[in-house]
């Protein structure tokens, strides 16, 4: 009887796992199939040209690729000082206590806010603020654009990097830190010469995961990036990311080739985020294995 329920349980678990795999590969195959028409139509110029004019059936997705990379990287860069400070604060300096719990819940709370709310906030607070700066700088005061989107993204990804980096920092064995203290190191010297060298690849993995998330973030970015299909010339320009152009234009994609072009963008986005995630997870896994052995 026991054996039967065991086998049954095994079978259920296994088929669920296999089902998930099939689902993911199915998703990928569908994307590839539906993206084919535009590649047949435009070839590699889909990836390397920057005119996106659906009316004339010109599909160059380069502006979205560039827009995605710039907003995501900029977002991560802006977030780093904050997320790393929080991670070190919670992981090393105050790993327990009321203050720690308060900060931890505050950052976790940030992660739970729906992205549409970030979008609204960006539109009503950050964009006008950006506009003022742009007037100061004497450039076109769009308000919305890459810079605004990056700031919003930065806030959204702080909890991700912070929580992963915090856990990695906590993994640094205390006997190593004590060895350093016993040699007369100060707290900062311990962080710099023991904690950071030990944890840096894990922290990097956290940053990659955050980058993956920044690349895929759709709603908030679509609301504040200005949705312009041209190659951005400065970080204050309105632009589009892969995610935002899909969200923005999917409803109006009337003909097959236009739709196929958007699906091809989706395929690119899928590949981008998957690679980023797999790489990040791989690094973290390698690290945890080293931990356990």
């Amino acid at each position: 009887m026991k054996q039967l329920s065991d086998t049954l349980f095994n079978a259920v678990v296994r088929s669920c796992a296999i089902g998930t795999l099939i689902l993911v590969s199915g998703l990928c195959v569908t994307l590839v199939i539906h993206a084919m028409p535009v590649f047949r139509h435009s070839g590699l110029s889909f990836l390397f040209t920057s005119t996106w004019d659906p009316l004339r059936q010109q599909f160059g997705a380069l502006p979205f690729l560039v827009g995605t990379v710039i907003t995501a990287v900029l977002g991560v860069l802006i977030s780093l000082p904050f997320s790393l400070s929080i991670a070190f604060f919670l992981g090393e300096y105050f790993p327990s206590g009321k203050l720690s719990i308060f900060f931890q819940s505050a950052t976790d709370l940030l992660a739970g806010i729906p992205s549409v709310i970030y979008g609204f906030w960006g539109l009503f607070v950050v964009a006008p603020f950006m506009q003022k700066i742009e007037i100061r700088l004497g450039i076109m005061p769009y308000g919305v654009g890459i810079a605004t989107a990056s700031i919003i993204l930065a806030i959204m990804i702080v909890p991700y990097t912070a929580s992963i980096a915090r856990e990695i920092i906590k993994l640094v064995p205390s006997d190593l830190k004590e060895a350093a203290y016993a040699l007369g190191a100060t707290r900062w010297e311990v962080v710099r010469h023991v904690v950071i060298p030990y944890a840096h690849s894990g922290i990097l993995a956290g940053i990659l995961l955050a980058l993956g998330r920044a690349i895929g973030e759709t709603m908030a970015v679509t609301m504040v990036i200005g949705n312009r299909n041209e190659f951005p010339k400065s970080i204050f320009d309105p632009a589009n990311t892969m995610a935002s152009v899909i969200a923005n234009e999917f409803a109006e994609a009337s003909d097959d080739i236009y739709l196929s072009a958007l699906i091809a963008v989706a395929l690119l986005l899928f590949l981008f985020t998957t690679v980023m995630n797999m790489f990040g997870r791989f690094v973290i896994k390698k690290l945890t294995v080293r931990q356990e052995s």
């Binding site: 016993a182 190191a185 023991v194």
Partner: protein, 252 residues
């Protein structure tokens, strides 16, 4: 006792409100090996960690009383200065996994931001590794990671790391409990060879080990110093019944 190097006066140590060391009065003889023994949980590690003020880093860790090193009370010094003069070796070998053997030996200098010329560094590394009887085994792999070494070699690397700072005292907390008998014997020999240059305080559970290497032995019980004296006298003619019971294996 003539010329002790460390003297504790009414030393008390707490974890929060929990008193773990009760009025320890102890004189550690200079350039000798002193063993600290006692049943598990009696406060041996805590006592050792008072000497280099590592105890204060534990949550709730607090020290009262005096610990004299020469004519200064180390509790009134900057802990960092104390730790440079009193080195420590831990129970589990803990070389820094991100550093080479070479860098591990001079880690004390690097951590403290002290600049060393190449020649100085080479010299310190060789002297410390020779002191720790490890030089011949690692002289060709100095720039490999220290974590590739065997447990016994790692522990000697940790001893070299402590020696490199030229400390007056080295504290060892059960340094051989994670090692096999051969590596243990090697470390015991090494400690005996070192006592002409540095005072050694070693926590050990192994009565045989204390007998083999320690000139003096302190017996702690439930946070109290029950008995202290020359190892031979303490082992052959213990004054306290608790010491006798411990030595005959009744507890611990």
């Amino acid at each position: 006792m003539e010329n002790p190097i460390l003297i504790t006066e009414n030393l008390k140590a707490y974890y929060g409100n929990h008193l773990v060391l009760k009025d320890i009065n102890l004189e550690i003889p200079r350039l000798n090996i002193t063993a600290i023994m006692g049943p598990s949980g009696c406060g041996k590690t805590t006592l050792l960690r008072c000497f280099n003020r590592l105890h204060e880093l534990s949550p709730g860790g607090r020290i009262e009383g005096q610990i004299w090193l020469g004519d200064t009370d180390i509790l009134s010094l900057d802990p960092i200065m104390v730790r440079r003069r009193i080195g420590m070796v831990f129970q589990r070998p803990n070389p820094f996994p991100t550093m080479s053997i070479y860098d591990n030996v001079i880690a004390g200098y690097k951590l403290n931001g002290m600049k060393l010329s190449r020649v100085e560094a080479d010299e310190i590394v060789e002297r410390a590794l020779r002191g720790a009887a490890l030089w011949d085994e690692v002289k060709d792999i100095l720039h490999r990671r220290g974590t590739f070494l065997s447990g016994g070699q790692q522990q000697r690397l940790c001893i070299a790391r402590a020696l490199a700072m030229n400390p007056e005292v080295i504290l060892l907390d059960e340094p051989t409990s994670a090692l096999d008998p051969k590596a243990t014997a090697h470390i015991e020999e090494l400690l005996i060879s070192l006592k002409s240059r540095v005072t050694i305080i070693i926590v050990t559970h192994n009565i045989g080990q204390a007998g083999r290497i320690a000139d003096y032995t302190a017996f702690l019980y439930l946070g109290e110093l029950v008995e202290f004296g020359p190892t031979e006298r303490l082992f052959t003619a213990p004054k306290d019944r608790r010491t006798e019971e411990y030595l005959s294996g009744k507890f611990g």
